[in-house]
Structures are given as structure tokens and as C-alpha cells.
């Protein structure tokens, strides 16, 4: 194949042009670009869009590019895959402390306490004990406390009233179960009930347990998590058995529907209560039928318990990744996300309380709470929450508990005591690191 002289010239000229262009591009000073992953929740994305634009407008030299976290069966899969593949962002605002040990083992996250002015900023915003809760065993702080969603019981005001149920009765297990029996009704005469009080999910995916078993367990045990500080199984106790018994009773006595429902059963008026967090507030406001009224109370606990109800805090934090090429600039953006003004904006858009001290007393937020009295309940509850343990096997642990939940509560094939025992044994096996 012989090339003619003219095409050779053409190629050489093109090459030269490319060289010149690339050199000139390198010569110019490029702004620092940070990638930022908020969660895939629609309200959180809305908030992210607003603050990213505000930041970009005022910081031409540090530009932030936002990419919503892709959904998957679990966010953890996605983040870990990114760490493994080296495609991590600079900042992620959906860090779930439960999976954190895996990230740290993967040297994935940045030791934020080494950033300039870290403790000054963080202690000014967040109570010390919250920061301590998120300090890792090696003394570093790999995640910056950002917000928590205290889990409570949402209920349909009109529906409960129509069935003569006082919300106070929902505070204890026996009261709750009695109310559930009252609520089961066949309204359209086809021989099958169409109305229930509460519908625990039959989904065996591990993270579902966070919002039924785990939340109830924290309440029932007066604030225990699954593992002790030394990392040993700490849930083989009466509280766990009581939670399993409670859930099993609901299924066994037919106090809940069997299987998936079409549409949102709470908004459709088919179930009167659901265990959820403040993120539901904007969702309900947007999607509820006209005239729908809802409110929140703390989750039920076993009879005879005293003191404030402790619940799952579903914390989510912000972290800068160790792979970030510009951690100092990223830190500036993170401080911006957590500034007072943006915390207020966050609260307004997503209704998720940030970990800000004196939230209830701060005059800047007073207007918001006046208009949204519902949110004050979450702030009140927010003082009494627990997160998850720091174990890299957390997903497997919850998966093991899910298996027993399925066998004992949903299928009724095991007694709660044996189910708890088997779950504990499975978790010990996992922790022993076979």
C-alpha cells in the first residue's frame, strides 16, 4: 500500500494541529473540578442542585459537578464498586455509617480530622457526643456527621379516629396489637379484609430490617445496638425475643396483608400506620390524596418500659474520599453544605433534621418550626437515637437476621426464642471470620 505525498502532508499537518491545540490547553489554568454524589432521593437531589449552582456561581476557581448516586439494590454496593474501580467522587453526601468499616478497610475515606479547622467547625455545629459516636477506633474521623432521620410511627389521623383508636394505645406492644385487631375489617364484603393497622414488609433484603426489627429492637432494649463495644454479639436477649414475638403475632393473627400491595397502602388508606422517617414528609405532602391528615408518634415498645423511647437514627454523613485530588477545596465545599443557611434550606426541602446543636432553640430555624410543627417532633426524638455498629460484616449480619425474621415472623415456622438464638449463632459465625 503506497501513500501519495499529498495525503502524507495532510496527516502531518493534522498531527501538528493536534499537538499545538493540546499544548495550549495544558498551558491554560484549569479550575479545580470536584465531583459530588448526593443520594438518589428526589428532594436531596433538588437541594444538591441549588447549592451546587450557588457555589459554582460564587467560586469560579472551584467548580463542583454533581452526579446523583445510581440506585441499586443497595447504595453500599455502588460505593464499594466505585472504590474498587477507582471511580470514586471527591465528596459523597450519602455515607451510611453502617458500611463504614469496609470503606476504611479499603482506605476509601479521608481522615477529616486532619483538615484545617476541622474540630472548630464541627464542634460549633454538632454536639460533641455525636462527633464521638462517629469517630473510628483509630481516633480518626472518617465521616462528618450531617443529618439523621429519627424513625417514628406515622399514622393516618382520620382513619384512626374513625375506628375509635387513641394514639396513646399505640405506645405499647399490647396496645398496638389490640388496635391492630380492631382495625382489620372487610369493607367491601368480598370476604377478605381491606383495612389494617400496620403492614410489616415481607421483603427479605437486608436493609429492610433497619426499619422494622432494628428500630423496634433499639426501642425495646432501651438503646442497645446489635454488637457490644468489643464487637461481640449483644442482641441475644429478651428485647430481641419480644420484638420477634411482636412481629410474629402480627403475621400469625392475620393483622396485616400477605404479600405486596398495589400502590402506597398508607396513602391509599389501606393501612393506618407505618414506621418511617422524616424523609416521608415531603413525599406525603406531594402525593397524598386531598384531605389526608397524618402525624407522628414514637414507635411502640414492650409493655412496662419507662423513659423516653429510643429509636433508630438512620444517620447519613458526608465524606471526602481518600482518592480526592483536592481535599482542601472539597473541605470548603463541605463546610458550605453544612453552613447554617444551607442547613435551613436542607431542612425546608427535605424535612430531614441536620445534626445541628440547639436546632430547636436557634432563632434562624424558629420560623421553620413554627410553620412545620410536625418537624419539632423529630427534633425532640432526635436526641434519643442510635446508629448502627461499626462492623465490616454489617450487611451479612442483617442478612442473617432477615433470614430468621422471614422464618419466624413472616412464615411462623420458628419460635422467637429459637430464631433469636439462631440469628445470634449465625452472626457469631460471621464475626469469627470464617
Amino acid at each position: 500500500m503506497r501513500m501519495n505525498p499529498r495525503s502524507t502532508m495532510g496527516v502531518l499537518l493534522a498531527l501538528a494541529l493536534v499537538c499545538v491545540l493540546s499544548v495550549s490547553a495544558v498551558g491554560a489554568k484549569a479550575p479545580v473540578t470536584l465531583t459530588f454524589w448526593p443520594s438518589s432521593n428526589p428532594q436531596e437531589i433538588e437541594f444538591a442542585k441549588i447549592i451546587v449552582k450557588a457555589w459554582n456561581d460564587s467560586h469560579p476557581d472551584i467548580q463542583v459537578k454533581m452526579e446523583p448516586l445510581p440506585a441499586s439494590r443497595s447504595t453500599e454496593e455502588v460505593l464499594l464498586a466505585a472504590i474498587a474501580a477507582g471511580t470514586t467522587p471527591d465528596i459523597c453526601a450519602n455515607i451510611y455509617p453502617g458500611a463504614i468499616s469496609q470503606y476504611i478497610a479499603g482506605k476509601g475515606l479521608y481522615p477529616h480530622d486532619t483538615l484545617p479547622g476541622f474540630y472548630d467547625f464541627v464542634y460549633a455545629r454538632t454536639p460533641k457526643d455525636v462527633v464521638d459516636a462517629f469517630t473510628y477506633k483509630d481516633g480518626h474521623v472518617y465521616q462528618i456527621p450531617w443529618k439523621g432521620n429519627p424513625i417514628m410511627l406515622a399514622y393516618n389521623v382520620k382513619l384512626l379516629r374513625a375506628n375509635g383508636i387513641d394514639t396513646k394505645s399505640l405506645a405499647t406492644y399490647s396496645g398496638f396489637l389490640a388496635a391492630a385487631e380492631r382495625m382489620v375489617k372487610d369493607l367491601d364484603g368480598d370476604g377478605r379484609p381491606d383495612q389494617w393497622l400496620y403492614a410489616p414488609t415481607v421483603d427479605v433484603t437486608w436493609w429492610q430490617r433497619l426499619f422494622d426489627f432494628y428500630t423496634l429492637y433499639i426501642g425495646a432494649s432501651g438503646g442497645k445496638t446489635l454488637l457490644s463495644a468489643a464487637g461481640k454479639v449483644d442482641f441475644e436477649n429478651d428485647a430481641a425475643v419480644q420484638v420477634f414475638t411482636f412481629l410474629q403475632t402480627i403475621f400469625k393473627k392475620g393483622l396485616c396483608p400477605k404479600g405486596a400491595m398495589i400502590g402506597d397502602a398508607f396513602l391509599n388508606g389501606k393501612i393506618a400506620a407505618t414506621i418511617t422517617g422524616p424523609w416521608s414528609v415531603p413525599y406525603y405532602d406531594q402525593n397524598a390524596p386531598a384531605g389526608f391528615e397524618y402525624d407522628f408518634v414514637p414507635i411502640p415498645v414492650p409493655d412496662g418500659m419507662r423513659g423516653p423511647v429510643i429509636t433508630f437514627g438512620d444517620p447519613k454523613n458526608i465524606a471526602i474520599f481518600a482518592t480526592s485530588k483536592h481535599p482542601l477545596e472539597a473541605w470548603e465545599f463541605v463546610k458550605f453544605i453544612m453552613s447554617r443557611e444551607n442547613d435551613l434550606l436542607w431542612l425546608e426541602i427535605t424535612s430531614q433534621p441536620p445534626y445541628r446543636r440547639d436546632l430547636a432553640k436557634d432563632p434562624m430555624f424558629a420560623g421553620y418550626f413554627k410553620e412545620n410543627p410536625l418537624m419539632a417532633k423529630f427534633v425532640e426524638q432526635g436526641v434519643y437515637t442510635r446508629g448502627v455498629d461499626d462492623s465490616k460484616y454489617l450487611i451479612e449480619i442483617f442478612d442473617a437476621i432477615s433470614k430468621q425474621y422471614d422464618l419466624c415472623c413472616v412464615q411462623g415456622k420458628k419460635t422467637p426464642k429459637i430464631a433469636v438464638r439462631d440469628a445470634a449463632q449465625a452472626v457469631r459465625d460471621i464475626l469469627a471470620g470464617w
Binding site: G106, V204, K258, G259, I262, L407, Q411
Partner: protein
């Protein structure tokens, strides 16, 4: 010896080496390397983010004792035991009917074949709605004709068979076509001769048709077996492996171990176990059903 090789090389068509090069490269990169790597993984423990840790045969030992794994195997066998006979009987029946003097054959063939080309994800999402215990169409129809609703996907005794029914529905068109092709290969003269000898239709079917369908039957059995062992998207979408782990397939378990728990070594072990099982089962099937060829 070397001289002979050199001579063969000299007289060979050189273009051949270049033409097979893409295949060689592809094979090395996407088959040979992964195969070796999978084998290495079996003896290690690895979560991608931390360095690999050699643990000898602990993964294998664990697999043998792992009740969940064996549950998955049993689920798969239950699936195969229901799906394969159902598939053969129904597909053969319809193929036989279609083979006769039927008008609109293309239309029927087309109708049956449609679910086969549709993505498994669509079929699964669709059937999940149909199977819904309280709100699904199937139970609605049963209710109308006065029968009790069936807990298709919520009862561990039913769930895997519900998936088998759906899988039969999805793939039937393909097997009908296979059987049709096999039926059309049976020479008419055989039937005519048998008629003259006084054999009725039923005898002709059992004595002539079925034996001559042997190779197609074997193909159907092997293909459905391999398909059954590869069951993933259906339980993944419909049930997540529940209820009570009754629909956990081996591949779904592999996926969970690898991508939820990050136990790559263990997942690789499951992969090899699966390959061995498929090989053994199809080997036995070939021995039993393959009449005219030595193994």
C-alpha cells in the same frame, strides 16, 4: 518432528493465522484468564478493596457445610423437576397439534414464540403483578370462578413452582419450534406403513414418533437443564430469594456473596460447584437419553 512442523507451516495458508487471531486474543482475555483467576480465587479470601488472603481449602470446606448453598441446590432441583416435564409435555402436545392440518399455523406459532424473545426482566415484572396474592389478576380470576386465592409467591411451598410455571410459559415457544422441526423430519412413509399394518394413531405416536424424537428430546432436556441452573433474574426481581429462601437459586446466591457481602473467593467456589453440577447432570442425561451415540 520439528522439521515436519516447519514444513506444515511453510505450506499452510498464512491468512489463517491472522484470521483466528481475534478469537485467540478474545479467548485468552475473556475465557482463559478468568478461568485461571477463578480457580485461584477459590483458595483465597478477597473483598476487592483489601489484599487477597490465602486460606487454602476453607472455602470448599465451608461450601460443603453451607446449609444455604444446599438449599439453593435443592431449590434448583425442585425447579428442574417441575419445569422440565411440564415443558416437554406441553410443548410436545402443542407441537403435535400444530403439526397436523391446522390453519393459521404461523399465527399460533408466532403467539407462542412471543414471550421467548421478550426480556426476562419484562416477563418477571409482568408476572409478579399477575401473581400478587391480594391484587393480582390470577387470583382475581380464581375468585370469580369461586376458587380460593393461591399464595403464588408468598408461600414457600408454592413459590418455586410459580417461577417454574412462568419459565415454562416464557420458553415454550422455543421448544415448540424445536419439536415441530423434529416432527417434520419424521418420514411420512413410516406412518403410512404403520397404518397399513393396522396401528392406530396412539400406537404410531408412541412407537414411531417418540423414538424418532429422541435427539430433539435430549436437546430440550439439556437446554432446559442448563437454563434451570442459570436461574437468576426471576428470583432476583420477584422474590429476592424468599419466601423462606425457597426461591434462592445458586446463581442468585453467588451474586449475593459476591456483590453484597464481597466474598469473592467464596463466590468463585460456588461458581465452580455450579459448573461441576451442570456437567455431571448433563452427562447423566446424555447417558440415559442418547441412544445412538457413544458418550
Amino acid at each position: 518432528m520439528l522439521g515436519r512442523l516447519a514444513e506444515q507451516y511453510r505450506t499452510s495458508d498464512k491468512a489463517g493465522y491472522v484470521m483466528v487471531l481475534p478469537y485467540i486474543l478474545h479467548f485468552l482475555l475473556f475465557t482463559a484468564y478468568p478461568l485461571v483467576f477463578a480457580f485461584v480465587l477459590v483458595f483465597n479470601r478477597w473483598d476487592i478493596v483489601t489484599p487477597m488472603e490465602f486460606i487454602g481449602i476453607r472455602n470448599i470446606q465451608r461450601l460443603l457445610r453451607d446449609a444455604t448453598f444446599w438449599t439453593a441446590v435443592i431449590n434448583t432441583l425442585r425447579f428442574l423437576a417441575s419445569h422440565i416435564p411440564l415443558q416437554i409435555v406441553l410443548s410436545l402436545l402443542i407441537a403435535v397439534i400444530l403439526n397436523g392440518p391446522i390453519k393459521l399455523r404461523s399465527f399460533f406459532r408466532g403467539a407462542f414464540f412471543l414471550p421467548f424473545v421478550i426480556s426476562g426482566a419484562v416477563v418477571t415484572i409482568l408476572w409478579q403483578q399477575l401473581y400478587s396474592t391480594d391484587a393480582g389478576i390470577l387470583n382475581l380470576i380464581l375468585n370469580r370462578i369461586g376458587m380460593q386465592p393461591v399464595p403464588w409467591l408468598t408461600d414457600p411451598a408454592w413459590a418455586i413452582y410459580s417461577i417454574a410455571i412462568m419459565a415454562t410459559w416464557k420458553n415454550m415457544g422455543f421448544y415448540i419450534v424445536l419439536f415441530l422441526a423434529g416432527l417434520q423430519n419424521v418420514p411420512h412413509e413410516l406412518y403410512e406403513a404403520a397404518s397399513i399394518d393396522g396401528a392406530n394413531r396412539s400406537q404410531q405416536f408412541w412407537k414411531i414418533t417418540l423414538p424418532l424424537l429422541q435427539p430433539v428430546m435430549l436437546l430440550v432436556v439439556i437446554l432446559s437443564t442448563i437454563g434451570g441452573f442459570s436461574l437468576f433474574i426471576e428470583p432476583f426481581v420477584m422474590t429476592g430469594g424468599g419466601p423462606a429462601e425457597s426461591t434462592l437459586s445458586v446463581v442468585l446466591y453467588l451474586y449475593k456473596q459476591a456483590f453484597q457481602f464481597l466474598r469473592m473467593g467464596y463466590a468463585a467456589t460456588i461458581g465452580f460447584a455450579l459448573a461441576i453440577m451442570i456437567f455431571v447432570v448433563t452427562f447423566i442425561q446424555r447417558k440415559l437419553l442418547d441412544t445412538d451415540q457413544p458418550a
